[in-house]
Amino acid sequence: MSYCVNCGVELDASAKKCALCSTPVINPNVHTAVTEEKPFSEELQMPEGIKKRFIAFLLTSAMLVASIVMFFLNVFFIRGNFWSVYVLCAVILVWVLFVFPLFGKKINPFLLWAFDTLAVSGFFGMLFGMLKPNLSVLKCVLAVIVLVSLSVLILMIWLKQKKRHWTSITVILLLESAITSVLSGIAVTFFVDNYNFFVVGIVIGICAFVMMLFFIYCNRSKHIRAWLNKAFYI
């Protein structure tokens, strides 16, 4: 039987230190280590994660079935222009963006980025191939895709360097959104010659910038950061 000299509570015979204040248990009368059974088990059991591959497999099957059904409907029943190609391309885009990452345990993020960029470009390429709009719209969309994918790449490289706090990540994310939206506005105005896109880009940029200032403040204030962590269970 031992007592904590600091807290005054009796400790379990197997305790090596006080559970309340971590004061070590030292018994000068006992020279050999007594191995008492601990009241609690020492085996830590971490629950399994969600089986992502199974979910991915289910989603892939559902998408595949839907695409095949659409194709046959298009060929035999609801004939006309090849509308099922749009559905098929949209399904491929969704699969690459959301289902493909579920298949691997830890897929290289740069590989995902490359696939996503290719899939988005491919989807719009198909749209332009089918609809054949004027060339300036194609240039616009290409410019926006390049800008967004570049900003995502920069963010990924920055995140790869070391572990960052979520408020810092939010700040950078908002800064990139502000820059990307302004640049996209400029690019679209340049190609389409419509001033409204520039105004929209500027408005989105200002909103993102103001939100960024708020998160910079959060990043610096320990109290607000702790409050946000607790309020939103982060």
Partner: protein, 429 residues
């Protein structure tokens, strides 16, 4: 892992979730579930083979626990589980998240370790009282199989009897008859700061105090043991907040009340409601005697049949609302999840749940050292505690998701300062 049953029990048995249970599946996440633990410490080492047989023997008596949870289009429901539950060696991190398809789809887990047998129960099945009745019957059956004669009384149910309708009923439905309107007005309150442990892990600290001495102390102050413990907890949290030198917020303690004692129900399912006692440190520094008075009057003002009926009716009102009923289950779950993020633990600083005196036969008491009752670890509540008493051993168990043990330390040393003997057991290294 689980075998299929082949005992010719009736198929097609199903139950609606009771009113309190309806929110728990919506709160379930991949990191947290609302489950609690009841644990018996015997005077001899547990024999797993006998325990496993005892569990098989008692399962037909508890048909409302021998179930699995299923998704309906509008509501979850409980359906007869065709598997047989198994017992497992105990783990260091009990009450981690429940996944409906694991553990043979049972919503409880039976563990053993040394002299201890424990059951982790998902709150959808029952409350602390139901969990204690289940485990008491299991331990009684275990002792019977060991050749000890144990009569069936109190928390030990007779295995010869069948589940009565009253045991399976949703007692909330029967008793929600108030016409008064209940206003919910809970503010965000103080939460103790700390370093959060990794998900699925919890620090457990039990303090064993002689019940007679504590009872004498509380009687001298003209309060109940639960009120006394709640006042100590409020005192600890108020002092902690003051020491943190931050903006002072209200400190609120949640105390679940067993409604069986108020309404005389026999249900084995959920039948508790949570009351809150709170103090505002901005009004000034409270002495311990003032806190005792606050807890006593606030609790007794709420704990009467009419007030409780009003609260039950308000909860039932949500379930009975035609719009809520018409919503598909996934929308309801989403609503519960959002509501849980902004109410529940956000409006309470901690929780004290007292199972009370475990009413087991004298013959069984001789073989029991103590009963440990641990509530579900909180999400933002620093330390939540469960209390249970047997054989003059009052066991207070903290489930803490923070690494620091300052709340527990202040709490237990308060009793040492009052001259009580406290024995500490913990899973901390």
């Amino acid at each position: 892992m689980c075998m299929k049953k082949n005992n010719g029990e009736k198929k097609g048995f199903w139950l609606k979730l009771d009113n309190a249970a309806k929110i728990f599946p919506g709160q379930n996440s991949k990191t947290w579930s609302n489950s609690f633990r009841v644990c018996y410490e015997l005077k001899e080492k547990i024999d797993p083979a006998v325990l496993s047989r005892a569990l098989e023997d008692i399962m037909p008596r508890f048909s409302c626990y021998d179930v699995r949870i299923r998704h309906g289009f509008f509501w979850f429901y409980l359906e007869k589980n065709e598997n047989t539950p198994v017992i497992m060696p105990d783990i260091k991190n009990p009450c981690h998240r429940i996944k409906f398809k694991e553990n043979g789809r049972f919503l409880f887990k039976v563990y053993y370790h040394g002299n201890r047998v424990a059951v982790d129960v998902y709150h959808v099945l029952t409350d602390g009282h139901g969990g204690a009745v289940f485990l008491s019957t299991l331990v009684a059956r275990y002792l019977q199989l060991k050749g000890i004669s144990i009569p069936c009384e109190g928390f030990v149910l007779s295995l010869q009897d069948k589940n009565s309708e009253e045991e399976l009923e949703d007692a909330f439905v029967k008793n929600a008859t108030s016409k008064a309107k209940y206003k919910r007005a809970d503010k965000f309150v103080y939460h103790a700061k700390g370093t959060r442990m990794p998900y699925h892990t919890v620090n457990i600290t039990s303090g064993i105090i002689p019940f007679d001495k504590l009872h004498e102390l509380s009687k001298a102050k003209n309060v109940t043991v639960t009120e006394f413990l709640a006042a100590v907890m409020l005192d600890v949290l108020c002092k902690k907040q003051r020491a943190e030198k931050r903006k002072q917020k209200e400190v609120s303690i949640q105390i679940p009340i067993d409604l069986r004692r108020v309404y005389g129900s026999q249900t084995l399912r959920n039948f508790t409601i949570c009351l809150r006692v709170k103090v505002d440190p901005n009004k000034g520094e409270y002495t311990f005697d003032e806190l005792l008075k606050q807890v006593k009057y606030q609790l007794r003002l709420q704990k009467n049949e009419k007030e409780l009926n009003m609260m039950i009716t308000a909860n039932m009102g949500i379930e009975r609302n035609i719009l809520v009923r018409a919503l598909p289950l996934f929308v309801k779950n989403l609503g519960v999840g959002i509501s849980f993020a902004f109410t529940a633990e956000q409006t309470t600083s901690s929780l004290i749940t007292n199972l009370g005196y475990i009413d087991i036969p004298e013959e069984m008491r001789e073989h029991i050292e103590k009963v440990v009752f641990m509530p579900a670890p909180g999400k933002v509540n620093a330390a939540r505690c469960g209390v249970s008493t047997v054989n003059n051993n009052l066991c207070i168990t903290f489930a803490n998701v923070y690494e620091e043990s300052d709340v527990e330390r202040e709490f237990f040393t308060s009793f040492v300062k009052m001259g009580l003997h406290v024995k500490i057991e913990s899973n901390r290294e």
